[in-house]
């Protein structure tokens, strides 16, 4: 899976946590990076921040879905409530998490996405 956030520390710490839980995580630090990662068919789950410079999480996710229709995502947002995003869980978005994300909630969301 890919961990996408413009905060590098956040990306690394999340990657470490995911590895602790036995997952392989690929870091990416912007939306464009995430989209290019999606060309790799190995990556089918994106843990992605919504708010990023240039290409934001929602737009990046829409682009990824075009390239990689089977991919799923868990989005994280610190700002708008989930219902304000022009997205519904049905569009490959498994869950939208409010920041700060508690680790148990994160694990729970990822597990349900990988099922």
């Amino acid at each position: 899976m890919a961990v996408v956030d413009d905060d590098r520390d956040m990306v690394r710490s999340l990657c470490d946590i995911l590895e602790l839980h036995g997952w392989e995580a690929v870091p990416s630090y912007d939306g464009e990076g995430a989209v290019s990662l999606s060309r790799n068919d190995d990556i089918d789950l994106f843990l992605m921040d919504v708010r990023m410079p240039r290409l934001n999480g929602v737009d990046a996710w829409n682009a990824i879905r075009v390239l990689h229709p089977k991919a799923k995502s868990v989005l994280m947002t610190a700002y708008a409530p989930p219902e304000a995003l022009a997205l519904t869980p049905g569009q490959g978005v498994v869950r939208i998490l409010r920041k700060p994300v508690a680790v148990p909630d994160l694990i729970d969301a990822l597990e349900s996405a990988l099922e």
């Binding site: 905060d7 956040m10 470490d16 946590i17 602790l20 610190a78 700002y79 700060p100 994300v101 680790v103």
Partner: protein, 589 residues
């Protein structure tokens, strides 16, 4: 003090001057007329008297000339003139002596020829002292004018002596006025004691006063001169058959005495009338000027600003009374206008003050909102920016907790401390973002009881705080945004709990319904709010807590207002603070 320009004094003064002038003029005119009239009357009476005396005198003279005529016709007298140079015969002497038988005795009797020479031989008894003067011949009996001689009046009676109708000489008697006849005395008595009888020549010369005795007679100056001096009134009457006249003098003082008395009396009466008139004028003027003075004083007071002053003398039915009443009415109008104006000004001032107060409140509210909005923006961005680092820190702690093999107790403790502090920070950030959220309320019908219960469970209430929860039966639903009102309630509950500062106490939550609104009262048993801070605690960034950024109550009030409600605080008489949240019911919209 007398004001000499005041009508009060001018009117009577003018009246007095006019009256005095009129009385004086009338008096002078009347006195002059009366005087003239009195003198005329007196003069007429005196004339009568003089005429009577004259006629008596005339008779006396006629007797004298007749006697002389008789002697002149005596043949012995005529004979004496026929032979000049021969002495008078005894017969002629006797005839001449007969003239002495009269009441008055002549001084001298003489017979003169045509040349005026006396005939010789007259007896000594008939000859006066001194030489016999020569006289021009006369052709009829002639009385000569008086002459003053040695202080006595003398006169001459001459009659012609005719011989066969021809004048041949004259018989002349020199006589002297020596006494007053009884007839004169009677007349004198009739005229009165003040009258003076005079005899003299008709031309006014050689006057003598007729008194009881004439020795010596007083020769007076001319009567016309005396009359000219206005001392006397003089009547004159010529004595027929002579060049003489009688004069009656009467003193004007006596004639005018009654008139004088009358004049004084009149003057007295006139003076009394003038005094009375002045008094009456003064009274009248006072009556007229007193209301005027009153009006003037009133006008001065009103001009000075005392609008309550009114004229006193308004009862009079004359023009001044009407003036006073009109003035009073005018003063009433003026006062009404001023009172009305003052009332209006007061009303306007009050309106203005209200407007200013409202304006100030609105301004304060605007400032508060602006402040809140600024803080909101700041809080929002700071909050979001803090969330990532906090998240990274939480992740780090999570990783450390799981990767450090057999950590020391101290490491464990500090990892827990970090974890707890990160959670606390996250909550503060969450609160901050909540408070900064400025959304329009999504109003819907909400049950009060369940809303209160739900929010109470969200607050961590210490076990030593007893919760008293009283909600009226049949509470109507409120029409609000339940999330926003929930946030208000959580704030109020949290504040109340913190106010009690871990001491045992009571958190009282009551809700009731009234006037189409729901009133929620949250009371604690803490120290209450200092009176001077009752409003201040609603200001943004104002806090009494050691921890807290002072947004809770200001956000709560903003939210209450946005939900058409209100939030206020007061101290309960039994201690602690009571926050009252009024909210609209579903019926009241």
């Amino acid at each position: 003090m007398i004001d000499r320009f005041s009508l009060r004094w001018r009117l009577p003064a003018i009246m007095a001057l006019i009256l005095i002038g009129a009385v004086m003029t009338l008096s002078v005119l009347a006195y002059g007329a009366a005087r003239r009239s009195a003198i005329e009357v007196a003069r007429e009476r005196l004339n009568n008297a003089a005429e009577r005396v004259s006629s008596i005198a005339s008779t006396g003279i006629a007797n004298l000339t007749r006697q002389a005529g008789l002697v002149a016709g005596d043949s012995s007298v005529i004979e004496a003139l026929r032979h000049p140079g021969t002495p008078l015969t005894a017969a002629a002497q006797r005839a001449l002596l007969s003239l002495r038988n009269d009441t008055t005795v002549p001084l001298t009797v003489a017979v003169l020829d045509l040349q005026g020479r006396p005939v010789e031989g007259v007896t000594p008894e008939l000859v006066r002292e001194g030489p016999v003067e020569r006289l021009a011949p006369v052709d009829s009996a002639t009385v000569h004018p008086f002459r003053a001689v040695n202080g006595m009046l003398e006169y001459i009676i001459a009659v012609p002596v005719r011989d066969s109708g021809r004048v041949v000489g004259q018989l002349v008697e020199w006589r002297r006025v020596t006494r007053v006849t009884t007839s004169f005395r009677v007349i004198s008595d009739l005229i009165g004691p003040y009258a003076t009888l005079l005899i003299g020549n008709a031309d006014g010369s050689a006057l003598t006063e007729l008194k009881d005795t004439l020795h010596p007679p007083v020769i007076r100056d001319s009567t016309s001169a005396r009359e000219a001096r206005n001392l006397n009134t003089v009547a004159a009457s010529a004595i027929p058959g002579s060049p003489w006249a009688f004069y009656v003098e009467y003193p004007n003082a006596v004639i005018l005495r009654p008139l004088r008395v009358l004049s004084w009396q009149s003057l007295l009466v006139a003076a009394s009338v003038v005094v009375l008139a002045i008094l009456a004028g003064a009274l009248l003027s006072l009556g007229m000027t007193k209301p005027l003075a009153d009006l003037t004083t009133t006008a001065e007071f009103i001009a000075g600003g005392d609008l309550t002053r009114r004229p006193h003398d308004t009862a009079a039915r004359d023009e001044i009374g009407r003036l006073a009443r009109s003035f009073g009415a005018m003063a009433n109008k003026v006062q009404e206008s001023r009172d009305d104006l003052e009332r209006r000004i007061d009303a306007r001032t009050s309106d203005l003050q209200t407007a200013v107060t409202q304006l100030r409140e609105t301004q304060d509210e605007l400032l508060r909102k602006e402040k809140l909005a600024t803080i909101g923006q700041l809080a929002s961005s700071v909050g979001h920016e803090l969330r990532n680092p906090l998240g990274v820190m939480a992740n780090a702690v999570y990783i450390l907790e799981r990767t450090i093999e057999s950590p020391t107790l101290k490491a464990k403790h500090y990892l827990q401390l970090l974890s707890a502090q990160i959670k606390l920070s996250e909550r503060i950030v969450a609160d901050l973002l909540d408070s900064a959220r400025n959304q329009s309320p999504q109003r819907r019908r909400t049950d009060v009881r369940s809303l209160l219960t739900e929010q109470l469970t969200r607050v961590n209430i210490p076990t030593n705080v007893h919760v008293e929860f009283v909600v009226e039966e049949d509470m109507p639903e409120i029409h609000v945004d339940p999330d926003q009102v929930g946030q208000i309630l959580v704030n109020l509950f949290t504040n109340a709990t913190q106010a009690m500062d871990n001491q045992p106490g009571v958190l009282s939550v009551r809700a009731n319904n009234g006037d189409g609104r729901v009133h929620i009262h949250v009371r604690d048993t803490g120290p209450g709010v200092p009176t001077d801070l009752l409003e201040k605690i609603f200001e943004p960034l104002y806090t009494t807590k050691a921890r807290g950024i002072g947004l809770g109550l200001s956000v709560s009030r903003t939210l209450a207002t946005a939900n058409r409600g209100s939030l206020s605080v007061k101290n309960h008489s039994g201690g602690g603070a009571v926050f009252s949240l009024d909210l609209p019911t579903g019926d009241s919209q």
